[in-house]
Structure formats: structure tokens, C-alpha cells
């Protein structure tokens, strides 16, 4: 099949259902008198008015910044501690139950505690995100580091590859599929915590705005906020997939060839 046709087909498959759904929503809601379900047209017009204005700087930017800092912090701390614990058998076995316990705490439950400590400022919200998102990264890194192939490990040892070189060329690449899987879980937890921490106590941010709109019965504005949160989640997950495809290309290739698909 020629490439243009193939692209067309792929695009057709990707767009058909979304177009149908959006059209249905548009038509059905067009002359909606239901106060809570305004016409899609109204929602989209409101979307532009609300979010491409002062709010972009005042609410969207603070949210995204806190999310970025918190998520990065969680990954750095998680991988760092994870490598340390993964490499030390005794330390790992001593800390394992404590870490499993922390992973099991529903992260939003930590919000009241952390707000006691750190107030309700930006720092507190970043801490909330880090303290909730760090566990999947940490525990997956420990798993990944622990499961480094014995033969590879012995080989690099006999070649005298130790310390940072060993970390850079053996441990981190070997553990990376697990680490990335942990990072994916951490990303969705981070978004949840960003929104919840702002709903719980805040003066700005996406979660705060959406709840304000709901409480003041600004319905189209509220819908537009939900739409924006959905888009944010979608875009971040898209970026993450790009990152994963790049960083784990070797791994997915290996899996395919192991399964004989080539």
C-alpha cells in the first residue's frame, strides 16, 4: 500500500470515533436547557475566555510549576534512594516493610499532615507531590537494581568496572524499564496530588479554580476547567510516551526479537 494511503487510514481510524463523540455531544447539548449541562459551544467559547487570559499566568502556571518541581523531585529522590537500597541487601531487607507501608498509604491522606507542617504554601504542595509520587519510583528502582543480570554484573566486575561507571553503564540501564514503569505511575499520582492539594487548601491553581467555579455555580467555566485538566493529563501522558519510546528503544526492540516478531 502506498504510504499516503496508509497514513490516511491510520488517521481515519484515529479520528473517526472522537469526531463522532464530539459531534454527538455538540448536537445533543446544542439546545440544552439543563443548567448543569450547557451546550458544548458555550463551554468552548468559555474555555477561550477563561483560560487564555490572566488565569494562564495566575492559575495554570503555578499548578504546572508545582507539578514539574514535585515530579522531578520524586524521580530524583526515588532513583537515588532506590539505587542505594537496591545495591545493599541488608539495608533493603531492613527497610522493605517500612517502604511498603508508605507506598500503601493513599497519598492524598498525607495532605492534612503535610499541611500541618508546612502551611499551605507552594513548598507544602511540592512536598505533597514528592511524598506521594516517590514510592512507585523508589520501589521499582529497588526491584530493577536488584534484578540486574548476574552474568553482566560479574562480567563488569571482572573488567574492573566499578563505582560511577558501573552505575552509569550497567545498573541504571538495566533497571531502566522498571524505573520508567515506576515513573509512569508516579506521573498520574503527581497530577492527582496537584489537583487535590489545591482543592484542599489554596489560593490559586487549577484545582482551586475548578472548585471555585463549581461552588459559585459558574457551570460553563467549571466544564472548561475539567476539559483543561483532562487535556493536561493527556498531553503529559503523550510526552511521557515519547520519553519512554526514546529511552527504552533498546528494551522494546529486545522484547520484540525475544518474541520472534523482529
Amino acid at each position: 500500500m502506498n504510504p499516503v494511503l496508509r497514513w490516511g487510514r491510520t488517521l481515519g481510524f484515529a479520528l473517526t470515533l472522537p469526531v463522532i463523540l464530539v459531534t454527538l455531544w455538540w448536537v445533543w447539548s446544542a439546545d440544552s436547557t439543563n443548567y448543569y449541562a450547557p451546550p458544548l459551544q458555550t463551554i468552548l467559547t468559555t474555555f477561550g475566555d477563561v483560560w487564555f487570559s490572566e488565569r494562564l499566568r495566575a492559575d495554570v502556571l503555578p499548578s504546572v510549576t508545582r507539578l514539574a518541581i514535585g515530579y522531578t523531585g520524586a524521580v530524583v529522590v526515588g532513583v537515588g534512594l532506590g539505587v542505594l537500597l537496591g545495591a545493599n541487601r541488608t539495608l533493603r531487607r531492613v527497610t522493605e516493610p517500612v517502604l511498603e507501608f508508605f507506598r500503601a498509604i493513599p497519598p492524598p491522606a498525607l495532605i492534612p499532615i503535610l499541611f500541618l507542617f508546612a502551611g499551605i504554601g507552594d513548598t507544602a504542595k511540592v512536598i505533597v507531590i514528592v511524598s506521594g509520587a516517590v514510592w512507585p519510583v523508589l520501589l521499582n528502582t529497588v526491584e530493577g537494581v536488584r534484578a540486574v543480570d548476574d552474568v553482566l554484573s560479574d562480567t563488569s566486575r571482572s573488567y574492573g568496572i566499578t563505582g560511577l561507571a558501573r552505575l552509569r553503564h550497567l545498573v541504571l540501564p538495566a533497571a531502566s524499564p522498571q524505573i520508567v514503569a515506576g515513573m509512569r505511575q508516579a506521573l498520574s499520582i503527581s497530577i492527582i496530588l496537584m489537583v487535590i492539594s489545591e482543592m484542599f487548601a489554596s489560593t490559586n491553581g487549577l484545582g482551586f479554580s475548578v472548585i471555585q467555579f463549581q461552588r459559585s455555580f459558574a457551570i460553563p467555566e467549571m466544564w472548561s476547567g475539567i476539559l483543561l485538566l483532562g487535556l493536561l493529563g493527556f498531553v503529559l501522558s503523550l510526552l511521557f510516551q515519547l520519553f519512554e519510546r526514546r529511552s527504552l528503544r533498546w528494551y522494546h526492540g529486545l522484547r520484540r526479537s525475544q518474541r520472534g516478531e523482529n
Partner: protein, 277 residues
């Protein structure tokens, strides 16, 4: 893993060292827990952190034990567990059913892929205001969040699992003229089962998070609501005690999901990694 290890001999170093016999993991782990509890006790007692915000561990436990003597506490626990169970149940039935269907019909999969990829990462907490307006405060709103969060985890895993059917096994089933149901029962389901179990494990954890969160932000009842109440009435040790309790609940959920996974996959030779989900 062997307990002895041969290290390459370096000049002047002892050639081969035997490790000391190791303590069993359970003892070390228990030691870790006790040590952690002791740390939580000592930090406020020595004044390193303020006891006002961070009461000693013994006070957290006392507050929890006191609360555990009341009916209110167990009613809240039951409400959280109920929302978790019903929500996870709905997500399981819907996720497995639709996953098997979408996964095994190529055309359906190609038509729905983009929509699923768009809806899946939508954070369920974004639906909170909508749930409040449309369903009001209470169990229904909580369930909407719980189901939305865990449904996608399960659906995606099932679709992946169905696609993982070994081509040779598929051809074999075709040569033997296995019917539709026989194919689902003996070919597709066993292949997908490890993925389904991964979905159940992830979904169960997420469902608990949302069941607690709903209470925390005031749209549901249960342990989350109790935590929020304790915080607003400044009962600090109780806040900690309740958080510890939800953590224990989470541990139970995780252990149960893993036990279920081991039981149902006892026949499965390889343990699959959670990557690709």
C-alpha cells in the same frame, strides 16, 4: 541467590571471604519497623520536631486505639471498604468485558485506540466538581471517581493481554477448529490472565486511593472524611492515627491482590514485569 560470593582478589586483600550467616528477612524487616517506630517516638520527644505538629508515635497509636473503640470508626471503615469494593467490582466487570471484546476484534481496537488514549490519562479527580453537581454528595459520587480511576487500569491491561496471544497457539487453535467460546476460554483468557491480574492489583490500589480521597475533599463519607474532620478540629494525634490505619488498609489490599495473583498464576512459568502497561 547464593550466600557466598567470590570477589576478584586484589593485591594485598584476602582472597575469598565468606559472608557472615544472614538473619532472615522477617527479622530484619521487623527490626526496621521497630526502628522506624522508635524514630517517630524520639523525634518529638527530643524536641527535634515540634510535638504540636508531630506527636510521639505512642500518642498516635493511643489516639487510633481510642478511636477503634467507637462504632463511628468502624462505620467509617465499612463505608470506605464498601465504596472500594463496589467501585472495583464495577470496574472489573466493565474493564474485563470490554477489554476482551476490544482486544479480540482488530477493527474495534483500531477505532477505539485514540479515544482510550485520550480518556485514560484524564485525572479522575478532575471529575470531582462534576460529580458533586450531577450526583450530589455521597456514595454515587465516590463510586464515579473510584470506577473511573480503576476502570482504565484494568481495561488497558486486558487489551494488552489479549493481544499477547502466541501466534503459534493461535494458528493451532484455528487448525483444530476451536469455536469462539473455546478460543476465549482456552486460548485468550489464559494468555490475558497475568495482565488481568496486574490490572486488578493496580486497580485495587487506585480504587482505595480514590475511596479515601473522596472523603477527604468532602464529597463522600468514610475514613477520608474522618481524617478531614480530625484535622479541622485540630486532633493532631488522631489525624496521624487514621492515616496509619488507612496505610494498614492499603497494605492489606496490596497483600491480598498479590496473594490472588500468585494463586491464579501458580501455573504460569514466567513472572511478567509491569512494563508496557
Amino acid at each position: 541467590m547464593s550466600t557466598t560470593e567470590v570477589r576478584p582478589a586484589r593485591a594485598g586483600a584476602e582472597p575469598v571471604r565468606r559472608r557472615r550467616p544472614e538473619l532472615p528477612s522477617a527479622v530484619l524487616g521487623l527490626g526496621g519497623l521497630v526502628g522506624f517506630a522508635a524514630l517517630l517516638e524520639l523525634l518529638p520527644r527530643t524536641g527535634i520536631v515540634s510535638a504540636e505538629y508531630f506527636p510521639p508515635f505512642s500518642e498516635m497509636v493511643r489516639a487510633l486505639v481510642e478511636a477503634a473503640g467507637t462504632d463511628r470508626f468502624w462505620a467509617a471503615t465499612a463505608e470506605t471498604v464498601q465504596a472500594w469494593g463496589i467501585g472495583l467490582g464495577i470496574a472489573l466487570v466493565a474493564g474485563i468485558g470490554l477489554g476482551l471484546l476490544i482486544g479480540s476484534v482488530e477493527l474495534l481496537r483500531r477505532f477505539t485506540a485514540s479515544t482510550i488514549e485520550f480518556l485514560r490519562p484524564v485525572p479522575s479527580v478532575a471529575l470531582i466538581p462534576l460529580a458533586v453537581l450531577l450526583l450530589g454528595l455521597g456514595l454515587q459520587s465516590t463510586l464515579l471517581l473510584v470506577v473511573y480511576a480503576s476502570f482504565w487500569q484494568i481495561l488497558i491491561q486486558v487489551i494488552y493481554g489479549v493481544q499477547d496471544v502466541d501466534p503459534v497457539a493461535r494458528e493451532t487453535a484455528r487448525s483444530y477448529h476451536l469455536g469462539r467460546w473455546a478460543r476465549v476460554r482456552y486460548l485468550i483468557w489464559p494468555t490475558a490472565l497475568p495482565y488481568v491480574m496486574t490490572g486488578v492489583r493496580l486497580g485495587a490500589a487506585v480504587a482505595l486511593i480514590l475511596a479515601v480521597t473522596a472523603g477527604l475533599v468532602g464529597i463522600g463519607t468514610g475514613l477520608g472524611a474522618e481524617i478531614a474532620l480530625a484535622q479541622s478540629s485540630n486532633a493532631v494525634p488522631l489525624v496521624y492515627g487514621l492515616v496509619i490505619f488507612t496505610g494498614l488498609l492499603g497494605v492489606v489490599v496490596n497483600l491480598a491482590a498479590r496473594a490472588l495473583e500468585r494463586r491464579t498464576l501458580a501455573w504460569h512459568s514466567s513472572v511478567r514485569a509491569d512494563v508496557g502497561g
